[in-house]
């Protein structure tokens, strides 16, 4: 990438980081560019998706007489149906399209989670109770599960276990919080590597000066 391009990239990074100081016009420049770019990107991808996933398939289907490919006309129609929500009279058509997407999503996540989260995790939880870990893990797990029991009578019968579950949950949250830090630091270090090279590095003192000037003028105004 040329020097000018890397300078622009670095400037955009600094603009976004300026939100750490306060909301300001430079942040809004970064915001506008990022939103515009990502929506534009999504639009392009959507157009190509419709072309590659649907229109080409329908064309192939018509050419070869493959019915399963011709049926790709249906999602195209359902997709167009989404736009009928602007018409009060035909809004119900768009609900069919939404129902379709929702049912695909919910069914896929039901079957995925049933296997991975429920059966897989129960299988993983079964362990011999002849070690300290085995006993501690089992009690800990049961307590947290009891914490997630919402019916009042049942949770009263469980006694102190739901409370213990809450404590175990806190240990979990603390551990998962800390464990993600290294990855996030790697990213900020990587981003800074892009800024802390010539000529981009000269933008840092400029940004610092702008902020100092802003602090001083704001203080004066406050007085």
């Amino acid at each position: 990438m040329s020097a000018i391009a890397s300078l622009i990239s670095a400037a955009l990074v600094i603009m976004i980081y300026s939100i750490l100081y306060r909301e300001n016009p430079l942040f809004r420049v970064g915001e506008g560019i990022l939103v515009g770019a990502t929506v534009g990107h999504a639009v392009v991808q959507a157009i190509f998706n419709v072309r590659d996933l649907a229109i080409i398939k329908v064309q192939q289907g018509l050419a070869t007489g493959d019915i399963s490919k011709i049926l790709y006309v249906i999602p195209i129609l359902l997709g167009i149906g989404l736009y009928l929500q602007f018409s009060k009279k035909y809004r119900y058509v768009s609900k069919i399209s939404i129902a379709f997407m929702l049912s695909v999503g919910i069914a896929l996540s039901m079957r995925g989670l049933l296997y991975n989260n429920v059966i897989g995790q129960i299988k993983g939880a079964i362990m011999p109770l002849n070690t300290i870990e085995g006993i501690a893990y089992t009690i800990g797990l049961i307590s947290v599960l009891l914490y997630f029991v919402y019916e009042e009578k049942t949770s009263r019968i469980a006694g102190p276990l739901p409370n213990l579950g809450r404590y175990v949950l806190m240990i979990t949250m603390g551990a998962y919080f800390a464990n993600s830090i290294m990855g996030r630091l790697s990213i900020v270090i990587g981003t800074m590597d892009g800024v802390l090279v010539t000529p981009s590095i000269y933008l840092v003192p400029v940004a610092a000066l702008v902020i100092v000037a802003d602090v001083l003028t704001r203080r004066k105004q406050a007085e």
Partner: protein, 210 residues
């Protein structure tokens, strides 16, 4: 009229989800290809949905520009960038062309990694603000976090080799207890909400709370 549509919607819900669910329990090549097709269909409809979003964004920002609302200039910038990407993508015919890669690497990559990396700064401010041992719960949260940090950073082992070991004990415990229970809970919860949607008890996501 809308009654008929409601019926169609419920039929779609039940049939489509049953196909996908049954495909999971019963390995059958026809069913499998049908389930894959249904999934692709959803992606196609989703692609059309993007037009709704783009339209909404376009009207909101062009209104701002036309009414010369405060800071309308940022709306101009937003729409200009959006059209730049659309035009580049459509003219070069792909999102992997050199020109497209150039503007993507120039704008989207630095901005998104800047935001992603900003998390590190927020971890710092949250460490100071939120990790206070006000009670047993927050005390445990804090202790677990500190030992995990000492496990991950090479400095922990340099201070004392036992520190990462304690961290590992916390980590294994957290994974085998709290995380496992959360995952089981989410699995059961998703099954429940899925059933509610499919049998038509949960109407809100279809936008029909009447």
């Amino acid at each position: 009229m809308s009654n008929v549509s409601k019926q169609i919607s419920s039929i779609v819900l039940v049939v489509v989800s049953l196909v996908i669910l049954v495909d999971f329990f019963w390995a059958n090549p026809t069913l499998k290809s049908l389930a894959t097709d249904l999934n692709n269909w959803a992606v196609v409809i989703g692609a059309f949905a993007l037009g709704l979003g783009a339209y909404s964004l376009l009207t909101r920002h062009s209104k701002r520009i036309l009414q010369k609302k405060e800071s309308w200039i940022f709306s101009v910038l937003l729409l200009a960038t959006m059209f730049l990407f659309i035009a580049t993508g459509l003219i070069t015919g792909s999102v992997t062309s050199d020109e497209y890669n150039f503007i993507y690497a120039l704008m989207v990559q630095p901005l998104s990694s800047a935001l992603y990396g900003m998390n590190a700064f927020f971890i710092a401010s949250a460490s100071y603000r939120a990790f206070k041992a006000k009670n047993v719960e927050s005390g445990l949260l804090l202790v677990a976090a500190i030992f995990l940090m000492l496990k991950n950073a090479p400095i922990g082992e340099a201070i004392h080799p036992i520190l990462p070991q304690i961290g590992s004990i916390f980590w294994d415990f957290a994974g085998a207890t709290g995380m496992r229970a959360i995952l089981i809970g989410i699995g059961i919860g998703t099954l429940a909400i899925g059933l509610r949607i499919i049998i038509g008890q949960e109407k809100t996501p279809l936008g029909g709370a009447e």
